[in-house]
């Protein structure tokens, strides 16, 4: 597959029209994938994607690119497995390389309780269509020889679940691939166009006010990351979302291969190797809500220390750079998507730390919702009104990590 997409990708820009059938606010992965699937699956091309900065500038360009489906509840396992399948065939479908690498994911257990959790994860995954198995210590060592099985004498590895479908892909390429695919079919993408208000008419959303003038729309979709509370409030909608920063860092190149993605929820870190060979590490969200992209030394120190407990080779590497993104956290660690109760206004948010892996399925399902007007079965459980109906989807399988 073509590794030099930058030379081949063809993005075509247009002057904004005053009216579209569908206006998608937010030119990240979810917004562009929704536009792409509207164009390819439903033939709806009178669509505009409005982006405040440049496409992929927000959290699509700041995540740690893990793709996995080993979640803890049936609704989520089915949903993310669909995403895993769509990612796996995206290069073939679009003819563009996204550096998709299936490398497997090891989720380590360091206590009796986490052994039980990983066994339960394997059972739930298998029952609902994702492949995950509980593996022995010998198999763990074979899958990832770099692991210190004694955990520095403090956090011994007692077991793990292994999710062979775990993969990574390059986030920028995912953005460009969806953008190109949508644009080639006539979708307009407008960068540096900030939405400043929603045009309301009798309780119905009829369009958006932008800094380049008003645009009327049959349907407005919020695919905003980070500023969704502000956008929704323009329609008088209050959201169960709190925005938290999440930090990550990469080291310089590790010359030996590091195959699986390794996760330890007891030690709160995850590690994978990028296509360039850098070791990519991340941890938990910061506890305080914030929209700031500020990074801190404390995170580097504590995350690196925890990671080196299990992966001692990391101590020979140097940290190249760190960055921060912001995560829209929902109370139950599941996304919030679909209808809002306001006519003409759909929403896809609550992507917390699991947004990148859900880009294809999120886009596909939102496109189906917009095209048919009916909520697809796969995303019905994630509706905004689940909180009022006392049907929250507490998912320990996502639990605030990647």
């Amino acid at each position: 597959m073509n590794e030099f997409i930058e030379r081949h990708v063809r993005l075509s820009w247009h002057a904004p029209k005053r009216s579209y059938d569908v206006v998608i606010v937010g030119g990240g992965g979810h917004g562009l994938a929704t536009a792409y699937y509207l164009a390819t699956r439903h033939g709806i091309t009178n669509v505009a994607v409005l982006e405040r900065k440049y496409i992929g500038a927000g959290n699509t360009g700041r995540n740690t690119t893990t793709i996995r489906a080993n979640y803890g509840i049936p609704e989520a396992v089915r949903f993310y497995q669909r995403s895993l399948d769509l990612y796996a065939s995206l290069e073939e479908e679009t003819g563009r390389g996204i550096t998709h690498r299936q490398k497997g994911l090891l989720w380590l257990a360091h206590s009796e309780a986490s052994i039980r959790a990983e066994r339960a994860r394997a059972e739930v995954n298998t029952a609902f269509g994702a492949k995950t198995e509980y593996v022995s210590l010998g198999e763990i060592k074979k899958l990832c020889p770099q692991l210190d099985m004694t955990g520095g004498g403090v956090w011994p590895i007692l077991g793990a679940s292994y999710h062979p479908g775990g993969a990574t892909a390059r986030h920028d390429r995912v953005v460009w691939t969806y953008a190109e695919g949508a644009m080639r079919r006539g979708v307009h993408v407008h960068q540096r166009t900030a939405v400043t208000g929603l045009i309301m008419d009798g309780g119905r959303v009829k369009g958006v006010e932008t800094d380049a003038g008003p645009i009327s729309a049959g349907v407005v979709v919020s695919a905003v990351g980070g500023h969704v509370t502000a956008l929704a409030s323009m329609a008088g909608l209050r959201l169960p979302i709190r925005t938290h920063p999440l930090q990550a860092f990469v080291t310089n190149r590790y010359a030996l291969g590091f195959d699986p993605i390794v996760v330890s929820s007891s030690l709160l870190f995850y590690a994978s190797q990028t296509a360039k060979g850098e070791m990519l590490l991340g941890a938990e969200i910061d506890r305080q809500p914030s929209y700031s992209y500020r990074s801190g030394h404390h995170f580097l120190q504590s995350c690196a220390h925890r990671a080196m407990t299990l992966l001692p080779f990391l101590r020979h590497l140097r940290i190249l750079r760190q960055w921060t993104g912001v995560c829209d956290m929902s109370p139950d660690y599941s996304p919030v998507m679909g209808k809002t109760g306001i006519e003409g206004f759909y929403i896809t948010t609550g992507w917390g730390t699991w947004g990148f892996k859900a880009i294809p399925v999120g886009g596909e399902q939102m496109a189906e919702l917009i095209a048919t007007g009916g909520t697809p079965e796969l995303i019905a459980p994630f509706s905004l009104d689940r909180f009022a109906r006392d049907r929250t989807l507490a998912d320990r399988g996502s639990a605030g990590t990647h």
């Binding site: 509370t229 169960p240 925005t243 305080q288 809500p289 929209y291 700031s292 500020r294 801190g296 995170f299």
Partner: protein, 83 residues
């Protein structure tokens, strides 16, 4: 540089020593008791800009303080007197 919170007892200390405490505010415009409970349980104001919040100095004096913070850039605004 990580954020430093000015504790009225201990001086400026790194944010990692503190535990965040939200002050949930249900708008007065919501009057129905069920809707107020729902809002109190699940909905967040999630402000972009200056906000008032409580912090517990867990790894210090173990007292609560009230803080003004701008969530856009994490700038700490002047602290109110000890409560």
């Amino acid at each position: 540089m990580s954020i430093r919170i000015p504790c009225p007892h201990c001086g400026a200390r790194p944010i990692e020593e503190f535990v965040y405490g939200e002050i949930p505010v249900v708008p007065d415009s919501i009057t129905d008791p069920d809707k107020r409970n729902l809002d109190r349980a699940f909905i967040h104001n999630n402000p972009e800009g200056p906000t008032t919040e409580r912090w517990f100095h867990a790894m210090g004096c173990r007292r609560w303080l009230t803080l003004r913070r701008d969530t856009r850039d994490d700038e700490i605004l002047p602290v109110s007197p000890v409560i």
